[in-house]
């Protein structure tokens, strides 16, 4: 005469209602705002209500009760998921360990991406030296900004030493930052076109650099040119190369998806390589700061080359050393867990 599942509801409804109140509060104001009693009750209530749901699924035919429990347990379950790290702590952890470790794992890709860009530089350098007219085909006019074979040597020198409006130039470099970072991120996002756009972007970037270098070389300004571009260029070019490497890594995982489906392989690779690109974007910011302030303020070639050496050393040390201990500890822990 009376359904067996009625008993379940009569006995457990107060538990469900209590959980519902806590979940409502936590959804609205955040789990952190629960008081200590509610926080202590929450896992107990969740477990009991999950048990009720399991019983109800097996025996209860009331859709009202079933739907209510399904939705309540789902909401509570999502709330009880482990929280992501605090933003500040996640940031520190990322810089001190994750970024460098991720880059070290993709060293071959970094090498390949450097080679592609280097090839672009070399090709453009040789071509432009042989025939200065090639410059116009390689460098888009909006990049050149008057720096072309028609310009006089004095004009070219003036660009290097920024005797123009300093503040205007620093604004221009900030613009370059968002432009570069955009291209870097695009490199990564385009990884799932089998890497073809990535190779293209890297190569054309190299072409522009090579054409510039050849232009200044033909006027005997090579030394000054590299002193001008490298203080921030070390960081910036490396960031471009890292983005390219990430795009290549995506392409590789997608083309040679071994035992996984291509989509899965791509998704997994993107999460590892996302770190590399995120770090590269930060490097673009650093490069922009160097470019905006250091380059406009310091005009001495020797000091500029000191800066080049300094940033190269810092980057080498960082990617060589950072996070090795933490990474080894983590792998040790994993091995321990397996053994």
């Amino acid at each position: 005469m009376l359904p067996p599942s009625l008993e379940l509801r009569l006995q457990r409804e107060s538990t469900w209602r209590e959980l519902e109140l806590i979940v409502n509060k936590a959804e609205y104001r955040g789990l952190e705002k629960l008081d200590s009693r509610e926080l202590a009750r929450f896992p107990l209530l969740l477990r009991t209500t999950s048990a009720s749901l399991a019983v109800a699924r097996a025996s209860c035919l009331s859709r009202d009760v079933l739907d209510y429990l399904e939705s309540l347990v789902a909401r509570a379950h999502v709330l009880s998921n482990p929280a992501p790290r605090r933003f500040g702590r996640a940031f520190v952890r990322f810089l001190s360990v994750d970024f460098a470790v991720a880059v070290r794992r993709f060293l071959p890709h970094v090498g390949l991406s450097t080679a592609i860009m280097g090839l672009g530089v070399a090709v453009a350098f040789v071509l432009t030296l042989q025939d200065p007219e090639t410059y116009y085909q390689l460098v888009p006019p909006e990049y050149a900004g008057g720096r072309d074979p028609a310009a006089s040597t004095e004009d070219l020198l003036e660009v290097l030493y920024g005797t123009g409006d300093v503040e205007e130039l620093s604004a221009f470099s900030s613009f370059l930052l968002s432009n570069n970072a955009k291209i870097g991120m695009m490199c990564f996002a385009l990884g799932f076109a089998f890497g073809i756009p990535v190779v293209y972007l890297l190569f054309t970037n190299g072409l522009i650099l090579g054409a510039f270098a050849a232009l200044y070389h033909s006027r005997g300004l090579s030394l000054e040119f590299w002193a001008w571009i490298l203080p921030h260029g070390v960081t910036e070019l490396l960031a471009v190369i890292l983005c390219g490497a990430a795009g290549l890594g995506m392409a590789q995982r997608m083309i040679f998806a071994q035992r996984e489906s291509r989509l899965h392989a791509l998704a997994r690779a993107s999460r590892e390589l996302g770190r590399v690109v995120l770090g590269a974007v930060l490097m673009f910011c650093v490069a922009a700061l160097i470019e905006g302030f250091f380059r406009q303020l310091v005009h001495d070639t020797v000091v500029r080359y000191t800066m080049v050496g300094l940033s190269a050393t810092v980057l080498l040390l960082y990617f060589g050393m950072a996070g090795r201990a933490a990474d080894a500890a983590r792998q040790g822990a994993n091995a321990g867990a397996l053994g």
């Binding site: 009376l2 009625l6 035919l61 009331s62 009202d64 939705s71 999502v78 992501p84 503040e167 991120m185």
Partner: protein
């Protein structure tokens, strides 16, 4: 049943053996599912994602509808614009002191706001930007692991590719591929639009970024309330020894679980103020006709009859189901 005060025995048209024969069950469970059942099951594409909880329960979470996601995106876009204006004002004040510094500051900050707004709020708000919060949406991982910063970065870095490039394709197609051949531009445009339209086709309504980060967006917009227990009236009448309507096994097996749950919906609605009492009357007389309710008891209170019938058939079907004999649907014909 024997303990009940009003004993009613109806001579069934079919023997119970005939009714519960395997052939009858099969014919109803299979391809002959009635239209009204199929219509109820068919509510667009499957719209839940399955998660396994720590207790090993499989939970169905409702996927966020695309309209809500678009709304949330618009709210966030508005906030990005407002933040950009704010940052611009701050940089403008700085620029009064030093124009160059102000300009670089503006570009740097706008860059940060534009590219890291979504990532920052999804990380701090546990998968909810202000816009998603407004629409009760949340980003979750498909495997139940916590959201990590690189996941959220990956998820949001593709946004440009998915929104701004296709918009350019639609609005200023010539700016995007200035020197490309006609066919190449067309092909690339179709490709970009295809990526932007991914959530329309993917089973879990994932964007390209969702695929890469292995995340889905779920919705908690629909609130499920627990209504009053419908069996309580019958239980009280039984406890106090008052009369309840009693049904035979054959009468209870005329309807299946599906119809039981439809009746539940009707009864829950009838508890609301201003409910349609005529509907209750019609439902009751329909059931009475169908199960062959005796004429001499026809005038029994409608409300009481329906609740008793609900309690009795739920009890019966729960009992049968616990023995592995679920009867999902009603049987054909009338009992007279």
């Amino acid at each position: 049943m024997s303990a009940s005060p009003t004993q009613t025995v109806v001579k069934p048209r079919f023997s119970s053996a005939e009714l519960s024969s395997v052939a009858a069950l099969q014919s109803w469970a299979g391809e002959q599912t009635p239209y009204y059942v199929r219509a109820r099951q068919r509510r667009g594409m499957a719209k839940t994602v399955e998660l396994t909880s720590a207790e090993g329960l499989r939970l169905q979470l409702e996927l966020a509808p695309l309209s809500a996601r678009f709304g949330a995106f618009l709210v966030d876009l508005l906030l990005v614009v407002l933040l950009t204006l704010l940052v611009g004002t701050v940089a403008g004040v700085v620029a009064l002191v030093s124009p160059g510094l102000g300009m670089s500051l503006a570009v740097l900050l706008v860059f940060l706001v534009r590219n890291f707004y979504f990532m920052f709020f999804e990380l701090v708000g546990r998968g909810r930007t202000p816009g998603k919060r407004r629409f009760r949406l949340r980003v979750i991982t498909r495997d139940g692991s916590p959201l990590s910063s690189e996941m959220l970065f990956v998820r949001n870095v593709t946004r440009d590719l998915e929104w701004f490039l296709p918009l350019m394709v639609l609005l200023v197609p010539d700016a995007l591929w200035p020197s490309a051949q006609g066919w190449a531009a067309l092909l690339s445009s179709v490709w970009l639009l295809g990526i932007a339209a991914l959530p329309l086709f993917t089973p879990l309504r994932q964007r390209a970024g969702d695929f890469l980060a292995n995340t889905v967006v779920v919705s908690f917009a629909e609130r499920k309330f627990l209504h009053d227990e419908l069996c309580m009236g019958t239980k009280m009448r039984l406890d106090k020894g008052r009369e309840v309507c009693v049904f035979t096994r054959e009468q209870l097996e005329v309807y299946g679980i599906f119809e039981l749950q439809v009746l539940e919906d009707v009864l829950i609605e009838s508890h609301a103020p201003g409910a349609n009492q005529q509907l209750m009357q019609r439902v009751a007389s329909r059931i009475k006709t169908k199960i062959g309710w005796p004429r001499e008891q026809w005038e029994v209170n409608t409300w009481q009859f329906l609740h008793d019938f609900y309690a009795a058939s739920r009890a019966h079907h729960e009992h049968r189901a616990s023995l592995g004999q679920r009867q999902e649907l009603k049987r054909p014909g009338l009992l007279r």
